[in-house]
Symmetry: C2
Subunit: 314 residues, 2 copies
C-alpha cells in the first residue's frame, strides 16, 4: 500500500506522520516550529521527513501551513504567525527531501482529512469551520477541495459579521472570528464577569478571582457547573456561529458543516444551540433541506492526514 | 450548427430566444407571465417554444426561473414572485414540447451567459451580482456552474450584512440586498431627502417635489446633475456593494465579479467607488491579487443566452 507523509506546520509545532491510503497514521512525531526564521522551517520539515522516510517507503509529502498558499500549491504568500512573505516552501522542501511535495493551507488540509476519512465521509459539499483562537475555514465542493482563483478561498473567519465591529488581526473590523472563536468566547465571558461579578461568582472562583484570569477551560468548567455568565457566553458564541453558517449556506448550500478546533471539545455546550439558531436564520428555510452540523472526528490530526492524502493527487 | 432555445421567466414577462453555439440570438419573443397561476406558466413556455421551433431546428430547451431550483435541475422548490411551491416545471414543459429541457435558477443562467459569452470570457472563477430591485447571484467556479448540494447555492443577496438590520422579503433581518440593491438605493435617497429637503433640492425637483416620488431614474439623473443627496446615496450603495464583494472574496476568491442588473446601467456613478472600497476592505489585501470588478456585457439577454447554453449540457 502506498504511503505518504503529512506535515502540519503550526505556529508552535511541526507535526508529521506517515499515513496510508485509508488515512491511518502509522508513525508520527513532532518538533517545535522555528517560528522566527522561515529558512529554518523548511529545514525542520525536511528533517522530520528524512527521519520518517528512513523507516517507511513513502511516495510523496503533503505540507499544510497556516497561511495564504498560492494556487500552484507551492508558495506561501503570507503567513501572519510565521513571518513568511512569498515563501517558496514547496521548492525548498522538495530540494531538501528529493520527493514530490505539495503545500496546502492548513485548514484546506483539515477539511480534506475530514471529508475523506472523518465527519465528511459520504458527503459531496462540506464546509469545515475550525474554531480555535480564530476561525480556520476549508471547503470541499462537488467532491473537490476548493481553492479559489488564487488559492485564497475559504478564509471564512474574515467575512464581516458586524459593520464597524471588533478589530480583527487582519486589520479589518467586525470579522466573524472576532465573534465566533475561542478568543471571542473568552473576551465575552471576561466582559460579562466585569460587568456583573456577582452573577459570575462560580466562573470567577474557578478562574482565580479576576475577570482577566478567565480562560476557555474555566468557561467550560463553569458552564458545566451552571454558571449563568459562562452559559450566556456560550449562547452568545452559538448565535454568532449560527449566523456565519447561515451566511455560508446562502452562498455555498453545503450538505454538511464540520465544526473542529479546540472549542469543539466543548461542543456539548453549544452544538445543539447552533443547530437551532441556524435553522431559525437560514434564508429560504422551510423550502430547502437543512445542512447537517457535526463535530470533527479526526481531531488535531485531521490536517496532517489530509495533507498526506492531498500529496497523492497531482 | 446546433441551436437551442433559452427562456427567461421573470415576474412580469417570459422572454424566449433561439440561440446558436456562439451565444448569438437568432430570433426572440416575449409574452406576459401568467404570474398568478403556475399551471399556465408551463403552458406559456411551451407555446413560445413551439412557436420558435416551428421556424428553427432546435435540439433542447433551457429555462431560467426566478426561484430555488433543485439540484436535479427539474423542480422549482419555491419562487417568491411566481406562486410556485415544489413545481415540477421541467417535466411539465418537457411533456408539452417533446424536447430535452433543463431548468435553472435565473441568476445561475445569467452568470453562465456572461461567463461563456460576456464579461466573464477567459475567466475561471466568476461571481455575478445582479443588482436590480433585489440582488441576484450566480457563481462559476473552476469553469463550472456552482449549484450547491441541493441547488440552492449563490443566494448572495441573503448573506446577513447588518445584524438586526433592515427587514428583508426573505423574512430575515439585515440581508445584503436591503443595503446594496436598487430598492435600497431608493430607500436611502428618500430617507436623506426627508431628513434634509434643502440639500436634496435638485433631486426633489426632478422627482416631482416629495421624497416619496423619488425613484431610481431620478436619483441617477440628479447624481449626474451633482445633487449631493443623490451622490451620497450612490456612495452609500457603493460601500455596501464593496463590503459584500469583500465577504464573497474571503469565501470564494474569484478572479472576477460581474455587476449586472438595472442599477449597473448607472455604473459610471458607482463602479470606481466600489473598486476603491473593495480594495480597502479585502482581507489579506496586499498579499493577494485583486479580483476584477466589471459590468455585465449581455444585458437582460444574459439569462436567456445562458439558459440556452446550459441546455446543451446533460
Amino acid at each position: 500500500m502506498a504511503l505518504t507523509i503529512g506535515i502540519d506546520i503550526g505556529g508552535t509545532k511541526v507535526a508529521a506522520g506517515v499515513v496510508d491510503e485509508d488515512g491511518k497514521i502509522l508513525e508520527s512525531l513532532q518538533r517545535p516550529t522555528p517560528a522566527d526564521n522561515p529558512e529554518l522551517v523548511a529545514g525542520t520539515v525536511a528533517e522530520v521527513v528524512k527521519d520518517l522516510a528512513s523507516r517507511h517507503e513513502v511516495e510523496a509529502v503533503g505540507v499544510g501551513a497556516a497561511g495564504f498558499v498560492d494556487e500552484t500549491r507551492s508558495i506561501v504568500r503570507f503567513a501572519p504567525n510565521l513571518a513568511w512573505r512569498e515563501e517558496p516552501l514547496q521548492r525548498k522542501v522538495a530540494e531538501l527531501v528529493g520527493l514530490p511535495v505539495v503545500v496546502e493551507n492548513d485548514a484546506n488540509a483539515t477539511v480534506w482529512g475530514e471529508y475523506r476519512f472523518g465527519a465528511g465521509r459520504g458527503e459531496t459539499h462540506v464546509v469545515c469551520v475550525t474554531v480555535g483562537t480564530g476561525i480556520g475555514g476549508g471547503v470541499v465542493l462537488d467532491g473537490a477541495l476548493y481553492r479559489g482563483r488564487w488559492g485564497m478561498g475559504g478564509e471564512l473567519g474574515h467575512m464581516q459579521t458586524v459593520p464597524e465591529g471588533k478589530l480583527c488581526g487582519c486589520g479589518n473590523l467586525g470579522c466573524w472570528e472576532q465573534y465566533a472563536s475561542g478568543n471571542a468566547l473568552v473576551a465575552e465571558a471576561r466582559r460579562l464577569a466585569t460587568a456583573d461579578p456577582g452573577r459570575a461568582a462560580t466562573l470567577l472562583a474557578i478562574a482565580g478571582g479576576t475577570p482577566e484570569q478567565i480562560d476557555g477551560a474555566e468557561i467550560t468548567d463553569a458552564a458545566r457547573d451552571g454558571d449563568p455568565v459562562a452559559l450566556e457566553a456560550f449562547d452568545w458564541l452559538a448565535g454568532w456561529l449560527a449566523q456565519g453558517l447561515a451566511d455560508l449556506a446562502a452562498v455555498l448550500d453545503p450538505g454538511c458543516f464540520i465544526m473542529g478546533g479546540g472549542v469543539s471539545r466543548a461542543a456539548d455546550l453549544w452544538l445543539d444551540r447552533v443547530r437551532e439558531r441556524y435553522a431559525e436564520k437560514l434564508t429560504g428555510r422551510g423550502h430547502r433541506p437543512l445542512a447537517a452540523i457535526r463535530t470533527a472526528e479526526l481531531g488535531p490530526a485531521a490536517g496532517l492526514v489530509g495533507a498526506a492524502d492531498l500529496a497523492r493527487m497531482p
